[in-house]
C-alpha cells in the first residue's frame, strides 16, 4: 500500500505542479538555511577525538595568591607556568603527558629553490603523538635520549613533507627553523582535526601545526612562544631565564588518564604537588585548587561553541518554522480541495487511518524532495561561508550525519506540518461530497 500511496502522491504533485513546487521551494529554503547553521554548529561541537576524549585531560593550577582574582569565570588560569610544566613532566608517574606551546619559525632548506616561509610549530613532549593519535608515515617520535640531550630533532606533517621533499621519506634530512638546524626523525599524517582543542588560547578553528619540536628545546634555544602570555604577579622578566622562572602562564599541559582511578590518583598527586610548592613560597593560598578537564569538558569550558552560534541555530529553526507555516496553509488548501475525492474513497471503503496515512505519505514525499533540494542550498551556503572567512574552511561542511539528517528533518517537520490538514481531510464524511461531485 505504501508504494500505492507514493504513486498517488506523485500524481497529486503532477495535478497541482505550482502549489507543489511552491511547497518544495519553501521546504528547500527552510532546510537549506537550517542545515547551513546546523552543520557548522555540528562540526564545532563534535567530539574531535572520540576514542580518547574522556582520557585526555587538560591541567590547570591555581597559583595565584589568596587575595588575587583572575579574569576567567572560575578564577583558574588557562595555562600553566614553565616551572610547573617542567615539574609535572618530571614526576615519576605512569601516565603519558605533554607540555606544549605554540611557536613559529621561518622554514628553509639548504641548497633549495624553495623560498623560506613562515610556519607555525608545536613544541611538545614526545608523548603528544601517542596521546593525540597522530600517525606516523615515516620514522617515529624523538627518543627520551633526544629529549634529555636537547637534540635538534623535528617531526613534520605530511603536507609540509610534500612541500619540502615532494612526499618522499625525509627521515634523516635536515631543515632550518630560523637559525636552528634540525634533523627530521618522523613524518606524521596531517593532524586530522578542525578544532584546535589541544590549545584553545588563540582561536578554536585554526589549522593544526605542521612542525613538532621537543619541549626540551625551549630553554636552550630560547624558543619564543607565539601563544598567549598572562601573568598575575609584577615581575621583571629581563631575560629568557627570568621568563622560565616566572609566574607567567604560557604553557599548556595535557595528561592521559585512562581510568577513573587514574584520574583520582592524578588529582591526589596534583594536590600533593601544590602542597609541596607551598613550602617554597608558591601557591600562597588556603584552599589549593586545580582543574582536570577532559577534551569535551574543555570545549564546553572554553565555549568553543558560543552563545551566538546557538542563537543562530535557533533563528534558523525559527525560519524553518515560518516556512512550515506557509506549507501548512498550502497543504490545507490543497487537501481540502480534494475532499470530494476523499469522500469517494471513504465511500468505497477507505478508513480514516488509510486516508490519513495517504496524505502523510504525500507530505513526507514533499519533505523528502524539499530536503534534497535543501541539501543543495545548504551546500551553496556553506561554500559561501568557506569563501568569505578562512576560519570556516574546515568547519563549514556537511558530514555524513548532517547529509542524512537533512532529509530526516525535512520529512519530520513536513509530517508535523501535514498532521492537521491530513487529520482534517480524513474526517471527511463520505456522504457529504458524493451528491455534489
Amino acid at each position: 500500500m505504501l508504494f500505492h500511496y507514493i504513486d498517488l502522491s506523485w500524481r497529486s504533485f503532477k495535478r497541482t505542479p505550482m502549489v507543489s513546487a511552491l511547497m518544495i521551494i519553501a521546504i528547500a529554503i527552510g532546510i537549506g538555511v537550517t542545515m547551513t547553521s546546523l552543520s557548522v554548529y555540528h562540526m564545532m561541537s563534535a567530539d574531535p577525538i572520540p576514542s580518547k576524549s574522556s582520557q585526555l585531560h587538560h591541567v590547570q593550577l591555581l597559583t595565584l595568591d589568596e587575595e588575587r582574582a583572575w579574569w576567567t569565570k572560575d578564577d583558574m588560569p588557562y595555562q600553566v607556568t614553565y616551572q610547573d610544566a617542567m615539574n609535572l613532566l618530571s614526576a615519576d608517574l605512569p601516565y603519558r603527558r605533554t607540555a606544549m606551546l605554540k611557536a613559529g619559525f621561518a622554514v628553509h632548506l639548504d641548497n633549495s629553490d624553495i623560498k623560506p616561509f613562515i610556519e607555525q610549530a608545536r613544541v611538545a613532549s614526545a608523548d603528544i603523538f601517542a596521546m593525540f593519535n597522530l600517525k606516523f608515515i615515516y620514522g617515529g617520535a624523538w627518543s627520551s635520549d633526544d629529549e634529555e640531550s636537547s637534540a635538534a630533532v623535528v617531526v613534520i606533517a605530511q603536507s609540509l613533507n610534500e612541500k619540502l621533499f615532494q612526499g618522499e621519506n625525509s627521515v634523516g634530512k635536515t631543515i632550518n627553523l630560523d637559525d636552528m638546524t634540525v634533523r627530521i626523525v618522523g613524518v606524521i599524517k596531517d593532524w586530522p582535526t578542525y578544532v584546535k582543542y589541544y590549545d584553545l588560547n588563540n582561536g578554536a578553528f585554526r589549522e593544526p601545526e605542521q612542525v613538532f619540536l621537543p619541549f626540551s628545546l625551549v630553554a636552550p634555544n630560547e624558543i619564543e612562544s607565539w601563544g598567549n602570555h598572562n601573568s598575575w604577579k609584577a615581575q621583571s622578566n629581563r631575560n629568557y631565564q627570568d621568563l622560565l622562572n616566572s609566574e607567567v602562564f604560557w604553557v599548556q599541559y595535557w595528561v592521559e588518564l585512562p581510568t577513573q582511578q587514574d584520574n583520582e590518583a592524578y588529582a591526589s598527586f596534583l594536590m600533593s604537588y601544590m602542597a609541596e610548592q607551598q613550602k617554597i613560597g608558591r601557591f600562597a593560598r588556603k584552599e589549593l585548587k586545580y582543574a582536570l578537564r577532559d577534551v569535551n569538558e574543555m570545549m564546553v569550558y572554553r565555549e568553543v561553541v558560543n552563545e551566538d552560534n546557538k542563537i543562530l541555530v535557533m533563528l534558523s529553526f525559527m525560519f524553518l518554522a515560518v516556512c512550515l507555516a506557509n506549507i501548512l496553509g498550502l497543504l490545507l488548501a490543497k487537501f481540502l480541495r480534494r475532499a470530494p475525492e476523499v469522500g469517494v474513497r471513504r465511500a468505497l471503503g477507505a478508513s480514516k487511518t488509510q486516508v490519513f496515512i495517504q496524505h502523510l505519505v504525500e507530505v513526507g514525499l514533499l519533505g523528502m524532495i524539499g530536503g534534497l533540494f535543501g541539501i543543495l542550498i545548504a551546500q551553496v551556503g556553506l561554500w559561501g561561508m568557506r569563501t568569505s572567512n578562512s576560519a570556516y574552511m574546515a568547519i563549514a561542511d556537511m558530514d555524513l550525519t548532517m547529509l542524512l539528517a537533512a532529509p530526516v528533518i525535512a520529512v519530520s517537520v513536513c509530517i508535523l506540518a501535514g498532521l492537521y490538514p491530513a487529520w482534517l481531510v480524513c474526517r471527511t464524511t463520505p456522504a457529504t461530497h458524493l451528491k455534489s461531485q
Binding site: 500500500m1 500505492h4 500524481r11 497529486s12 495535478r15 470530494p340 475525492e341 469522500g343 469517494v344 474513497r345 471513504r346 465511500a347 468505497l348 471503503g349 477507505a350 478508513s351 480514516k352 487511518t353 488509510q354 464524511t429 463520505p430 456522504a431 458524493l434 451528491k435 455534489s436 461531485q437
Partner: protein
C-alpha cells in the same frame, strides 16, 4: 438482508432542526430490486446514505446482513462499505486522475486483495460493462453513459451483495439510461440486491418493487412483481 426499524435522521444547525427521516421502517430481502421514488427533499438520498452506511442515523435500529450498524465504529463501518456494498452515484464519482482500470481497482485495494486477483476482477467487471478495451482511458475521455458503466464496474468488482444506486441515470440520455437499467437488471438477476433511488417513473416501474418516500417516511408502495410480504414499511 436490510432491516430498518424506527430510523430517524435529524440535521441540526444553530438555527434549525431538520427531520430528514422519521420513524423509517423497511425490510429488504436478499435478491430484491427496489426503486425508491419521491419528491425532492423527501429524504430519499438520506435513506440511501444511511442504508449505504455513508452517514450515521439519529435514532432507531439498522441491521445489514445481521450486523447492527448502529454499534459499529468508523473503521468497522468502512469495512462494511468495502465488503458488502457497491455504490452507483448520479455524478459517477470517478477519480479524474485515475484511468478506468485504476478507478475500478480502488475498493479492491482497500480490501487488501492481491494484485493478480485484482487484475482478474477488474478485467472481468470492465468486460461485463463492455469497456474492457478502454481500460487505460481517463474518465474525462468517456461519455456520461460510459462513465456510469465504469462506476457500475467499480461497484461490481467488489462482488457486493448489496448495490445502492442514487439516480444512476439522472445525467444520461434516454438511450444510455436504458442501457444502464438493463445492466442493473442483469446484475440483479445474477443475485445482487439493488436499491435504486430515481425520479424517473418509467425506470421505477421496471423495478419489481417500488417505495415512495414523502417527508422522511415511506408514504406508499406499489407492487408490480415480487412478494408483498417483503414490504413492511408504512
Amino acid at each position: 438482508m436490510l432491516n430498518m426499524n424506527g430510523i430517524s435522521k435529524v440535521y441540526q444547525t444553530e438555527m434549525v432542526q431538520t427531520h430528514a427521516l422519521q420513524d423509517f421502517n423497511l425490510q429488504v430481502n436478499e435478491g430484491e430490486f427496489i426503486a425508491v421514488t419521491g419528491p425532492s427533499g423527501s429524504g430519499k438520498t438520506t435513506f440511501l446514505n444511511i442504508a449505504g452506511v455513508l452517514e450515521p442515523f439519529t435514532q432507531g435500529e439498522y441491521l445489514l446482513d445481521g450486523v447492527d450498524i448502529g454499534k459499529l465504529n468508523d473503521n468497522q463501518r468502512a469495512d462494511i462499505r468495502n465488503q458488502k456494498i457497491g455504490y452507483i452515484f448520479q455524478g459517477f464519482n470517478l477519480i479524474p486522475d485515475l484511468n478506468l482500470y485504476e478507478n475500478v481497482e480502488v475498493p479492491l485495494r482497500y480490501r487488501g486483495i492481491k494484485a493478480p486477483e485484482r487484475k482478474r476482477r477488474i478485467e472481468e467487471s470492465l468486460e461485463q460493462v463492455g469497456l474492457a478495451s478502454r481500460a487505460k482511458h481517463l474518465p474525462q475521455q468517456l461519455s456520461g453513459g460510459q462513465q456510469q458503466r465504469v462506476a457500475i464496474a467499480r461497484a461490481l468488482a467488489g462482488k457486493p451483495r448489496f448495490l445502492l444506486a442514487d439516480e444512476p441515470t439522472g445525467n444520461l440520455d434516454s438511450l444510455m439510461a436504458r442501457q444502464v437499467m438493463e445492466l442493473l437488471e442483469k446484475i440483479n438477476q445474477d443475485g445482487a440486491t439493488i436499491v435504486m433511488v430515481t425520479h424517473d417513473s418509467e425506470l421505477a416501474r421496471r423495478a419489481p418493487r417500488n417505495i415512495q418516500v414523502v417527508d422522511g417516511q415511506i408514504a406508499d408502495f406499489s407492487l408490480y412483481q415480487g412478494n408483498p410480504a417483503a414490504v413492511v414499511g408504512v
